[in-house]
Symmetry: C2
Subunit: 218 residues, 2 copies
DNA sequence: TATATACGATACGCTGGAGTTCCGGATATC
DNA sequence: GATATCCGGAACTCCAGCGTATCGTATATA
């Protein structure tokens, strides 16, 4: 493993991530390569896991030289931390949530083929990241913010709207309930190694979430 | 990583785990060392994760020589697979479940300080194991059987009893609900990196499980 | 066209850990 | 007590992968 370098805080990585840590920067610099390299790193991470992943794989996938990568990130560990931290920027704005008029309609509307396979890749990345979380705890925070939080937050918003319109009781524990879906998905992918499909997600909605808020159970 | 050796199936490891794979076994052999080595392997795995774990650490912890370990297991990977597969034998018999007369009483009775810290170690082991799951899928099965299944099975039994005595409806999705607790615990330990405490487990019982089966929510 | 810089590609040194081998000592059988 | 075998300990080999250094090339400035 070897995580010796000082690791920047997650928030500090926000605006522009890769900075030439070798300091004496010349004049020009191809900033368009950064996202491509980070995306390649996430691909390799999702496919092979952290310890199976090598910098050469990332370089080859990004059609970049290994030196180019090390010119921007001081170590393999920081490259991955950066890559995970940057994922959250690709999340769709929370304003564009479905609004069907019923909680069940909203929750089911979240189940789209696109979001299923996208979510699958995200949790594969999560699996790769878990290996080094014990040595870089802030990576857990980054992964949580990038992968779990968006889903949980969407659930909170949908349930809060259901409360506001009087569809469900106001004393539901929506903070805990919002985590059920991500946690069950993570468990199914990481441990059970079963794929996520529409049937599974529907069983969560109709077998857990809706009953728990007092809907669809007489 | 390097998982090249052929990996035995989980079930084949059941009765006596470590067999001298170097075949030509002499006459005597200290079989009492096997469990100690496996236990040491689990300890190191829980503390440092898979890639941080070295065979020397395991040998030192078990006060054994590295050669002794390699005399019994052909590789680091198989040692870990064996160690995880053997965990399930330490599970208490399912017959000794609490029986308080109510579902809530039974579920709360499962929350004991002992089972909390024991569970904590188990999920730390799970975290260490996740790193190599992608390369040894049967390890996922072993970990699932040893760590998740016992908890899920206990929940199924308690809920089935509640159905039988007419406390809750028979059309509850108890198979899915039984997985909520282990999944949420795994998520909290592996990703959130927060400790498990009584308050958290109570919020699962009172905020998710009981409402979902139609109890304690008017 | 001349200069400067970053790029991709490649070769290299170095390190840590897997797995092997060897040895002295302990233990049990006869 | 002699023999045989396993044990703990340690030194050893081997290799994959990190990180560095070098080189030819592409591109942009002047």
């Amino acid at each position: 493993m070897n995580v010796t370098a000082t690791i920047a805080t997650v928030d500090a990585l926000d605006p522009i991530v890769a900075t030439d840590h070798h300091a004496k920067l010349g004049r020009k610099r191809d900033f368009t390569r950064d996202p491509e390299i980070l995306e390649a790193a996430l691909d390799v991470l999702a496919e092979t896991g952290y310890d199976g992943m090598t910098i050469d794989m990332v370089a080859k996938r990004a059609k970049a030289g290994k030196a180019t990568i090390y010119r921007r990130w001081p170590s393999k560990a920081e490259l991955i931390i950066d890559a995970v931290a940057c994922m959250r920027k690709n999340n769709l704005p929370a304003a564009e949530l479905p609004d069907t008029g019923t909680l069940r309609g909203d929750l089911v509307a979240l189940i789209k083929p696109h979001s299923i396979e996208e979510g699958d890749r995200k949790f594969q990345i999560m699996a790769g990241v878990l290996a080094m979380i014990s040595q870089a705890p802030e990576l857990a925070e980054a992964a949580n913010v990038a992968i779990i939080q968006p889903r949980a937050h969407a659930n909170v918003l949908l349930m809060q709207r259901a409360i506001d319109r009087g569809e469900i009781s106001a004393d539901c524990d929506i903070q805990t309930l919002a985590l059920v879906t991500p946690a069950m998905i993570a468990h199914r992918i990481l441990i059970l190694r079963k794929p996520i499909n529409r049937e599974f997600l529907l069983s969560l909605v109709d077998g857990v979430l809706l009953p728990a808020v007092g809907l669809a159970r007489p």
